[in-house]
């Protein structure tokens, strides 16, 4: 029997997302097609259920300092709490792991999944991630002066920081077929890199970001000109957007339509990779390129072709960027079979 979500905000959010869009049924089909041991689980989160530890520290025993008896570390704070919970909800027994590389976590989960499928350890994989608000995140970003006091405005002249969001998303990957049907969505390639620069500030020229995008193109065997739309990391901090613009411009020039969708969603942190992968999947399926909510005036110092409004052009290959603290970068390439 699946475990309950305990009292874990992060896992309750995951449970909510799992129940959407017929996802549980799709996983059940994969389970019966491949066997529950052959469906892997690769998720991302940055802070898991750390909120519950923060709250437990306010209820320490006056005499011993101990945490309240009901505090359940494995079901809340531990990074794998998300993996344990989702594995139980989906009744999976394949390889399972949680990637935690700050804001690139659930993008990099695609990398672990793709390699496990390529290595033959599983035939299908649930990928995704969840991040929920906790005080560490809120006060941590505040101390770095990276929080916007209004809805965030990616790539705007007046951009002043991130809007922290919460979210969860999941996708089901299956091993590739020789001749997939028209309309099938594919993970065509991905690239990962580290900045080797600073723990919380991106490389000013976006050197690590560029390496991730180059590797993603190379793994997809594509040229920059093959990408029809790019979903930027675009957090709306001064430094991220400037560095990402330099990296994207250096590789793609000013021709490729780009946007950040964080003006609409906020920054879902460890869940932003999966959320923006799903935006890319929607763009491919519904044949549009999303614009940038809340951005009013694109910073003239930024040179990429930035979409303010959604465009009705149908992309067939798209890239999604995710970057995180510690200089952790990941770019994903998705396509739709013609």
């Amino acid at each position: 029997m699946p475990e309950p979500a305990a009292d874990c905000r992060n896992n309750r959010l995951a449970q909510l997302a799992l129940a959407q869009d017929g996802f549980l049924g799709a996983v059940a089909q994969a389970r019966s097609r491949y066997g529950r041991h052959r469906v892997g689980l690769f998720l991302g989160t940055s802070t898991s259920g750390l909120l519950h530890t923060e709250l437990a520290y306010r209820q320490r025993a006056a005499d011993t300092g101990s945490l309240p008896a009901e505090f359940d570390y494995a079901a809340t704070q531990n990074t794998f709490s998300l993996g344990r919970f989702v594995q139980s909800q989906l009744e999976l027994q394949g390889p399972a792991v949680v990637v935690s590389t700050a804001c690139s976590s659930s993008a990099k989960a695609f990398g672990s999944a793709a390699r496990m499928i390529a290595a033959g350890l599983c035939d299908a994989a649930v990928v995704g991630g969840t991040d929920s608000l906790c005080l560490t995140t809120l006060y941590g970003f505040a101390s770095l002066e990276l929080l916007s006091n209004a809805p965030c405005r990616p790539f705007d002249t007046e951009r002043s920081g991130i809007s922290i969001g919460e979210g969860a998303g999941f996708a089901l990957l299956e091993k590739g077929q020789d001749s997939p049907a028209a309309g099938t969505l594919q993970l065509l390639g991905l690239g990962e890199s580290n900045d080797a620069h600073h723990m919380s500030t991106p490389h000013p020229e976006g050197a690590g970001a560029r390496a991730a995008m180059e590797r993603a193109l190379s793994s997809a065997r594509l040229l920059a000109s093959d990408i029809d739309y790019m979903n930027l990391h675009g957090t709306a901090t001064r430094s991220n957007d400037a560095a990402e613009d330099k990296a994207v411009y250096a590789l793609f020039g000013a021709g490729t339509p780009c946007s950040s969708t964080k003006g609409a969603t906020g920054h879902l942190l460890g869940a932003s990779g999966i959320a923006e992968a799903i935006v890319c999947a929607l763009a491919l399926r519904e044949q549009f390129m999303p614009g940038s909510a809340n951005t009013q005036c694109v910073d003239p110092a930024l040179r990429v072709r930035y979409l303010l409004a959604s465009a009705g052009r149908a992309p067939t290959r798209v890239m999604s960027n995710s970057f995180g603290f510690g200089g952790s970068n990941c770019s994903l390439v998705f396509g739709r079979v013609q």
């Binding site: 520290y57 945490l67 570390y73 990637v99 672990s112 390699r115 350890l121 006060y139 941590g140």
Partner: protein, 265 residues
């Protein structure tokens, strides 16, 4: 999945490096648990060195030992970082501070609190922009890291460095999540045999709860059972004696086990 072992790094209580610990793991010398000793290193600029937490120092130490005889350039080598809890000390300090009126979280503590902080420091120290990931699988974190690293080798046909580390939390978290000792273990794995490879591993996931291989020495077995990274010890023991061990079993997720066949090369 088949991989070749080119290097090992190890630090733990009374385990002062792979070279110094081989005799202990092979059963030829007694195991005497002691404090973790980490020799200082100067790869990082002084500011970063001051800021980095113990898990990052431990990771740097074991990673460098595993690379000692490496034929691969360190700045292009991919890495997999595995840990159940990463920096428990900094999480404790942040939670203490958040329980006060001021709720003060310093930028350094905040960036050290991310699970991938050791990977960030490693990348800066080695000037490496190579692919790197940071994983958690609770008590199975080392084993999950081993699977991820082997899959990387198999899928990318490139070498990869696996670094696993787990350290005890301070109280009160220690009572909620006890971890025995501070242990770090690193393996440099390659998809093909090279002049540096000394053992071959065949790694598989089995859909059965096999009994895990345990350590014969009671104190080493207590470490194996009490620290997620120390679940590597039976594998390291097999590597220490350069023995062929056809059926090593590492504990993995419920209902499964990871088997490793170790052969000399």
């Amino acid at each position: 999945m088949q991989v070749f072992v080119e290097g090992v790094g190890l630090r733990g209580p009374g385990l002062n490096g792979w070279v110094a610990s081989r005799g202990i793991l092979a059963g030829a010398e007694p195991y005497i648990p002691d404090e973790l000793i980490l020799p200082p290193q100067d790869l990082l600029p002084a500011a970063e060195r001051r800021r980095m937490g113990l898990p990052a120092k431990l990771a740097l130490n074991i990673g460098l030992e595993a690379l000692a005889n490496s034929t691969h350039p360190a700045d292009t080598l991919a890495s997999v970082f595995a840990s159940s809890g990463a920096d428990g000390q900094v999480i404790h300090q942040i939670c203490e501070s958040l329980a006060t009126e001021e709720r003060d979280v310093s930028p350094t503590r905040f960036h050290n609190s991310v699970h991938n902080a050791p990977a960030g420091y490693w990348s800066i120290a080695l000037r490496s922009r190579a692919p790197s990931t940071s994983l958690c699988c609770f008590d199975c974190s080392f084993v999950a890291g081993l699977l991820d690293a082997c899959a990387y080798c198999a899928a990318e046909t490139e070498p990869v460095l696996l670094l696993s580390y787990d350290l005890p939390y301070p109280e009160p978290l220690n009572a909620a999540r006890p971890i025995t000792g501070a242990v770090g273990a690193a393996l440099l794995l390659a998809p093909r045999a090279t002049s540096a490879s000394f053992a071959q591993l065949a790694v598989q996931v089995e859909p059965n709860d096999y009994q895990p291989t345990i350590m014969q020495d009671p104190a080493l077995e207590a470490l194996r059972a009490g620290n997620p990274t120390a679940r590597a010890l039976p594998l390291l023991a097999a590597l220490s004696g350069c023995l062929s061990v056809p059926n090593l079993v590492l504990e993995y997720l419920r209902g499964t086990a990871v088997t490793v066949a170790v052969s000399r090369c």
